[in-house]
């Protein structure tokens, strides 16, 4: 008999992010997906995903987030949704809406889809399509009245950055007119393609400060009608975010080929080895995968973090960001005012004046 390696007090994760494919009709220049996208022929099968969903539910996971890429690129999506519901998971899908007809939506709703998230890139078609790298804006607008015919929760995500943040009031008004149940106003997170395009996307400090009262006013005005959530960009803060609720504490991400990651961008950290759902079940991976164990608890932390009471709140911030900005995944998150690298962020916040190339996935 083998003994459990991890602490027996380890709590269950809350959510499973299923990147069912990396195929996507959009090529958003803020995409946080890895630069090295997984190929279609290597994707997990329907049976693999069904097994994962059953394992997730028995591990205590409540929420499933179907994402990608574009999950609609999977022909077996209704089957994936119904098997997830049969396992007992709450099913959310994050989609571009491209290719989502009323007929197709009806099959997804019937299969048990409960929540759908649609992001918008800007207020006007030309700019929105430029940011998305596809003619998607009009398709998204046309989809909204169709969505209303189904009893799904509907969230609009406004992804904000330097190119659209000055239009935030009008952007919120556009969302309000589309009347979602929820509205998320999310600053770009600088991973993957977004990191490559950071100089184009990083808002100025002034833009960020102007946007805060606008978000607050929208929250108050829409209370009881549209639930508003906003994600403040941590580059402008003095303390790190509790990234993914703490490493290996709340969520698991399965990528299209079955590698299980503690967060979206963990693959940027060079010495991490991910276990695969083809070789282990999720419960084993949650408890014993070295990648999940790597930054659990506080043994990896610097003296500064160990002595800091905030470690109970931010769990040491974002490991990927620490690595990307300092080259050391164990370093204090540079967002933290106590980091010797905190000065780096001041430099990164200065907008570039050159004409910059745009990087996007060309697949």
């Amino acid at each position: 008999m083998t003994e459990a390696i991890a602490s027996p007090s380890l709590a269950s994760p809350f959510s499973l992010i299923a990147e069912v494919t990396h195929r996507c009709p959009l090529h958003c220049l803020y995409c946080s997906n890895p630069i090295e996208l997984q190929r279609a022929q290597d994707e997990l099968s329907t049976e693999d995903w069904k097994r994962i969903f059953a394992q997730a539910a028995s591990l205590g996971i409540l929420h499933l987030h179907l994402t990608g890429g574009e999950p609609l690129a999977r022909k077996d999506l209704p089957e994936l949704i119904s098997s997830a519901r049969e396992s007992g998971l709450y099913v959310n899908m994050i989609t571009s809406g491209v290719g989502l007809t009323e007929e197709r939506l009806a099959t997804l709703a019937e299969a048990g889809l409960e929540h759908l998230q649609l992001s918008f890139q800007d207020i006007d078609e030309e700019s929105a399509n430029h940011i998305a790298g596809a003619r998607a804006h009009a398709i998204k607008l046309a989809l909204v009245p169709v969505l209303k015919k189904f009893s799904l929760a509907f969230t609009i995500n406004l992804v904000v950055h330097r190119m659209n943040l000055d239009r935030l009031e009008a952007f919120i008004a556009l969302a309000e007119a589309l009347d979602p149940d929820r509205l998320e106003i999310a600053h770009v997170q600088y991973y993957g393609w977004a990191l490559k395009n950071r100089s184009l996307l990083m808002p100025t400090e002034e833009q960020v400060h102007r946007s805060l009262p606008i978000v607050e006013a929208a929250k108050q005005r829409l209370k009881g009608r549209i639930h508003v959530e906003a994600v403040f960009p941590d580059y402008f803060g003095s303390f790190p975010k509790a990234c993914v609720g703490g490493w290996g504490r709340q969520m698991m991400l399965v990528n299209p080929v079955g590698d299980v990651l503690p967060c979206h961008s963990a693959a940027v950290i060079p010495d991490l080895r991910f276990d695969n759902v083809r070789e282990h079940d999720l419960a084993w991976i949650w408890r014993s995968s070295a990648a999940f164990e790597r930054f659990r608890g506080d043994t990896w932390m610097s003296e500064t973090c160990l002595a800091c009471p905030r470690k109970e709140r931010d769990f040491g911030g974002c490991r990927c960001q620490a690595f990307m900005l300092t080259g050391d995944a164990d370093a204090i998150d540079p967002v933290c005012t106590y980091s010797p690298h905190h000065g780096l962020l001041q430099t990164l916040r200065i907008p570039a004046t050159d004409i910059l190339p745009i990087w996007r996935d060309q697949a």
Partner: protein
């Protein structure tokens, strides 16, 4: 929303079949005390007054006005949060 309103759960919100939580988009609300019993009757057919009456049958020693006020207060807070609708 008042005592005669007929509340229902918002789209995409449902009670977990076994745990004391309400599953909502992007999260869960932990249900403590009698709030699970209350939400079981939030089905688009019971008025808030009827839900309070049902609760009073389960807790006959409770003060009726207080129970009505508490049920209404809970559902109004959940309406503000967007998980219960009229």
């Amino acid at each position: 929303m008042d005592i005669n309103s007929i509340p229902r759960l918002a789209s995409g919100c449902r009670l977990h079949p076994t745990e004391g939580v309400l599953l909502i988009p992007e999260g869960t609300l932990k249900l403590t005390g009698p709030s699970r019993d209350i939400l079981t009757l939030v089905d688009g057919s019971h008025s808030i007054a009827a839900i309070a009456d049902d609760l009073l049958r389960q807790y006959p020693e409770a003060d009726a006005d207080e129970v009505r006020r508490d049920v209404l207060g809970l559902l109004q807070r959940m309406e503000q949060r967007g998980v219960v609708r009229e």
